[in-house]
Symmetry: C2
Subunit: 254 residues, 2 copies
């Protein structure tokens, strides 16, 4: 049996009771450790579930996952995943390959950045498609975040969430400032007027855990702020309901 | 202090360790009991947190919430909320009014239907705005779910989630079949061709907990299926990646 278990957004106390029960009875516990920044303490987590944790990097998950799956054929094996389980297609792929091998898969959900953005006060129902901003190498350009923003704006002025890249092994995590610069660069080429000094943006730092920081205001004002709290993300709100506006005003910077 | 605590999607074992710690030390615990169907056992929950739970209906949350807030002025008070905390604006409104009264608010996130839909295999990043389908009385028409679907389709062929109404006190919960009928009715008036017998849809029943059922296929085929597992929701997928398609095929009905 393979258990895919969400860690939630905080530390080991943010696991669910069900998750801890399962982790205690598993023979092996892997932790997918490269998709975000874990804010808990691995030692405390190991004490809580009473066994060692095997850290899994991207290669182990995407290329060598047969090892994990072969373990799960005859034993209870858990894979801890930061936040909730599914977002892109990586874990779907794992589910498919597990089932091909006749392995049962169970999913234990937890909190995700995709709903923790509700802390901003923005209605989750009004978010459009989610954009990802990657660290770029050399002259390679990615315009999709700008295009998703444009499409969301057209689509009932939906809000847009930008998830930011990170390279855990290189200890590189993108700041909301870098994300803004990324969008400014595309604007300078596309010139559609989506990104201006007056565009309202929200920089979110450490959502879903203590120490959370948020900065709301005009792009030029938010760009001047900095935070050492990670992970960070960026939101460009669409049309605001007055309660959304009032919630955001609490994080206003000038 | 006011704690807004997500219950997650299952029973009392789906609370986080942090949530249980806090609930144990609170003097009063309210449970917002009308927004979804709680799949846990209230008695077991009371035993777990070692105190009685006060069930709160819509009136108590939206009109008489001053009672809850006044309690929270000098005591630790928790409000349990099904799924995660924020979705629409109800709880934002409560945060604003608490802060006006000088009451500190803390949010404890948990799993939400908005990410549990990842169990379908559909990429969460590719969902557009979320639509809600209400129970209608008499001749009152609501076209917004159809319009959101149309806009999402135009917007990079995004997926659309339809959340379905329920009336806990009347024990009325909408089925995915009723949601499909609702959309067919709008189609019969608008005639934009968004909803046909061949439209691919996913009926989801009891997401995020054991006993989950899913039905994927042509609208006319899915409409023939039934489930007694609740709550239910409906998804109309947009453009599918081959892994999304492969995941959905596991729930195919004909």
């Amino acid at each position: 049996m393979l258990y895919l278990i969400g860690t939630g957004l905080g530390d080991e106390r943010d696991l669910t009771l069900r998750a801890v029960d399962i982790l205690k009875k598993c023979s092996k516990v892997y932790f997918e450790y490269y998709t975000s920044i874990y804010r808990g303490d691995l030692k405390k987590l190991e004490m809580l579930i009473d066994k060692p944790i095997i850290l899994a990097d991207r290669k182990m998950i995407e290329v060598e996952s047969d090892k994990i799956l072969d373990d799960a054929k005859n034993k209870n094996v858990a894979l801890l995943i930061m936040g909730d389980i599914f977002s892109a297609t990586t874990h779907s792929d794992m589910v498919l390959r597990a089932e091909e091998k006749g392995i049962q898969v169970a999913v234990i959900h937890n909190a995700s950045i995709l709903t923790a953005i509700g802390d901003t006060g923005l209605s989750l129902y009004k978010f459009g498609r989610t954009a990802s901003i990657p660290f770029l190498t050399d002259s390679w350009k990615v315009d999709s975040p700008y295009e998703i923003l444009r499409d969301n704006k057209k689509n009932g002025e939906a809000h847009t969430l930008f998830l930011l890249d990170l390279k855990v092994t290189e200890k590189k995590t993108m700041t909301f400032n870098q994300a803004i610069e990324f969008l400014i660069e595309i604007e300078s080429r596309k010139k559609e007027g989506l990104i201006t000094n007056d565009t309202l943006v929200v920089g979110c730092c450490g959502l879903g855990f203590e120490g959370l920081e948020m900065f709301y205001g005009k792009l030029s004002d938010v760009l001047k702020k900095n935070s050492n709290v990670f992970p960070q993300c960026l939101i460009i709100p669409g049309k605001l309901h007055f309660i959304e506006e009032e919630m955001l005003e609490r994080f206003k910077v000038e």
